[in-house]
């Protein structure tokens, strides 16, 4: 399993696959995730991205931050686009026109994956294309100004689900996309976080051992949308993991494994309080009632995950 040193050395030796000079915001977690994922893959890669922060910030003509072949087509079709690339690879390899082993990776945001791109993703998973789909899940449409998506957590303030005097932020729970992908019975599914980059690199390495669709949903702090300081991307995401609000786990050929279990599960408040998008739950008065409900939901989901781990591991 790779260490940070190994990854850094690999990047130094072959040059960065994703370079500086892009225009992502200060403190954005996305470049850390992209570099970690691409450094964890030894073979040459072709990357696709749907419309979103990463796409806009990395491909402004006539510049590019990509030192690997990269394609953007539209918002909802990254999975279908990479499916076409992968099919072309198979056909052209058969003809001997392509001789190298190439891996295929998508980096998509939650809007382009949970919402508008879900159908294309489901189709590509069902057809069994050989690719890795990485979600840069910053829990809202950040590129267009922090509108709510189906990945936005309950009660979070977003510009289309504002914390109002009657409705305290987003009324609905977030969609559990990771479990939707598990239901496609693809070989490798995982959740990861920018706060645990070695865990992420390990997951990428393990994923790439399997042929077929692979999916990693990575929590990606957005200082702008979450209303946290730019230097807190890692620490805030870490609280999501320590509260078990965003568990780190993988499902390998149907078998669940939680890759990090906090020694002491922190209360959900610890994750909510530092983020401006949840400020209305603490000020002007603390909404104990809502926080209790959110805690109960986290507990329920965490217990469910533990049960799935026990059941599928045959324990």
């Amino acid at each position: 399993m790779p260490s940070i040193k190994v990854l850094a050395k690999r990047e130094e030796e072959r040059g960065p696959r994703f370079t500086g000079g892009h225009s992502l915001c200060a403190g954005c977690a996305e470049p850390m995730i992209v570099r970690t994922v691409l450094n964890a893959i030894e073979d040459p890669v072709v990357v696709a991205s749907p419309t979103g922060c990463l796409e806009v910030a990395s491909s402004r003509y006539p510049t590019t931050a990509w030192n690997v072949p990269w394609i953007h087509s539209a918002f909802e079709n990254a999975a279908a686009t990479i499916a076409g690339v992968e099919a072309a690879y198979k056909a052209l390899s058969r003809k001997g026109k392509v001789t190298k082993k190439i891996r295929f990776v998508v980096f998509g945001g939650d809007g382009g994956t949970y919402d508008i791109g879900l159908q294309a993703l489901s189709g590509a998973l069902e057809r069994g294309h050989d690719f890795l789909y990485v979600v840069l899940d910053n829990e809202a449409y950040m590129n267009t100004g922090v509108q709510r998506s189906s990945a936005t957590p309950r009660c979070a303030h977003a510009t289309t689900s504002p914390a109002g005097s009657v409705v305290p932020g987003k009324p609905q729970d977030r969609k559990d996309l990771t479990e939707i992908v598990v239901a496609h019975r693809v070989p490798y599914v995982a959740q990861a976080s920018v706060s645990h980059l070695i865990d992420l690199a390990n997951k990428v390495e393990r994923a790439m051992q399997y042929e077929g669709p692979k999916f990693i949903n990575v929590l990606s702090t957005c200082p702008l949308g979450w209303r946290v300081p730019p230097d807190s991307a890692v620490n805030v995401a870490k609280l999501a993991v320590e509260t078990c609000c965003w568990p780190l786990y993988e499902v390998v050929e149907g078998v669940y494994k939680i890759t990090y279990k906090p020694k002491e599960k922190l209360p959900i408040e610890k994750w909510l309080e530092p983020q401006g998008r949840f400020r209305h739950l603490f000020r002007p008065e603390k909404r104990e009632d809502i926080i209790r409900e959110l805690q109960e939901a986290v507990d329920r989901h965490w217990e469910e995950l533990l049960r799935k781990e026990r059941c599928t591991q045959g324990g």
Partner: protein, 385 residues
């Protein structure tokens, strides 16, 4: 080889002979049989194509974009609502200068839902940046599918090409089609040599950039250059193909008894066949009538068509789709060739929507109607009012 086959089969035969690297397709009436034939070829080992049975037309065109950018030769097919769903990505395909070939089994658009022929779907993609060709028969659909491949991949053109064939009228009816030997088609289309394939990992290219107001305009203007190069390439390809097949493909349109015609119909697709029969009948009676059947609709050969129509007294331009709020799109195209100078009287006929039959009597009615007509008139053919 001469065989009786449907328009579906004719298109599928052309595809089998071209044997593209990737076919991504989603079923929709009246296109589905093209997808079915091709799936048979793939699953019986007749072709080595990677078939992507996508979950929507949007993904069909998206997979085509990915595969074409990767460096593969790519074909798809659709109709109606399917094209409406994929049209977003068709614009992307044209903007990325990807030579994707598509058969479009022309069908009306909802609402109300209707599965039968008109050209609303093709009109929807009029400004997409795709080249559009209309076939009159299964034979022409076969021939133009093969020519389309060369046109799309022409180094100066590099654009998607749509081959339109009327839903049901052509797709489902059996006609005599003369096919070329497999080897002749393979030699004609040749090997595809993509200029900047994504799969060339040693020469990484960024596809699908983000362009701000400082560059977007120039990039779109450059795209227009592909369209500007298309007419010349179209004629060259027709010439080479005609020599190969012995059928006379010459020009952007077919002029049928047009030379001394006073009253002329301009039309696209299978209705041209009916119109030819009417022209013959009226000519036998000594009436000077003629037909101009448009093959190449985009880019539109307005100067050449204007030249061909300059001697006519009255012209009926027949649109098989309504451009709501204005005269028909083909009508405006044809009239644009006469901008600023005198020409014949032009009448617009909207006809055949949602599969409304177009019998010979209706075409004869159009020729009769041209005896008294004023430019700018909009008439509906075969409509109960």
């Amino acid at each position: 080889m001469r065989k009786v086959m449907t328009g579906h089969k004719a298109v599928a035969e052309a595809m089998r002979q071209i044997e593209p690297d990737v076919v991504a397709v989603y079923p929709i009436t009246p296109q589905s049989e093209i997808a079915e034939y091709y799936a048979e070829y793939v699953h019986n080992g007749i072709v080595k194509t990677e078939l992507i049975p996508v979950e929507s037309e949007h993904s069909a065109m998206s997979a085509c974009v990915g595969a074409s950018a990767a460096g593969a030769r790519v074909i798809t097919a659709t109709a109606s609502q399917g094209l409406a769903l994929m049209v977003e990505v068709l614009y992307v395909a044209a903007g990325l200068r990807l030579p994707i070939v598509m058969a479009l089994a022309n069908r009306s658009l909802s609402a109300p839902i209707n599965i039968h022929c008109d050209h609303s779907d093709a009109y929807l993609a009029r400004d997409s940046g795709a080249i559009q060709i209309f076939a009159e028969s299964a034979q022409e659909a076969y021939d133009y599918m093969i020519m389309a491949q060369k046109l799309a991949e022409n180094a100066k053109v590099r654009l998607p090409v749509i081959v339109n064939l009327d839903g049901f009228t052509l797709t489902h009816s059996s006609q005599v089609v003369e096919t070329l030997p497999d080897e002749a088609v393979k030699d004609f289309v040749g090997e595809y040599d993509p200029p900047y394939p994504l799969l060339d990992v040693d020469r990484p290219v960024t596809w699908g950039v983000f362009a701000m107001p400082d560059y977007y305009f120039e990039l779109k203007r450059a795209q227009q250059a592909g369209m500007e190069a298309a007419p010349e390439a179209f004629l060259e390809i027709q010439k080479a193909y005609s020599e190969l097949c012995g059928r006379p493909y010459k020009g952007f349109f077919e002029a049928y008894k047009l030379d001394d015609a006073e009253r002329v119909i301009v039309v696209m697709g299978s209705t041209a066949g009916t119109a030819k029969a009417v022209v013959d009948e009226l000519r036998d009676k000594g009436e000077r009538v003629g037909l101009l059947k448009v093959w190449l609709w985009r880019p539109f050969p307005r100067a050449e068509i204007a030249e061909a129509l300059a001697g006519a007294k009255a012209v009926a331009v027949m649109d098989r789709a309504i451009s709501f709020g204005n005269l028909g799109a083909l009508y405006l195209d044809v009239v644009s060739g006469f901008a600023g100078r005198p020409g014949p009287t032009f009448v617009n006929y909207i006809y055949g929507l949602g599969g409304r039959d177009v019998p010979m009597e209706h075409i004869a009615e159009v020729f009769e109607g041209l005896k008294e007509a004023e430019t700018g008139e909009l008439r509906y053919l075969g409509l109960r009012e």
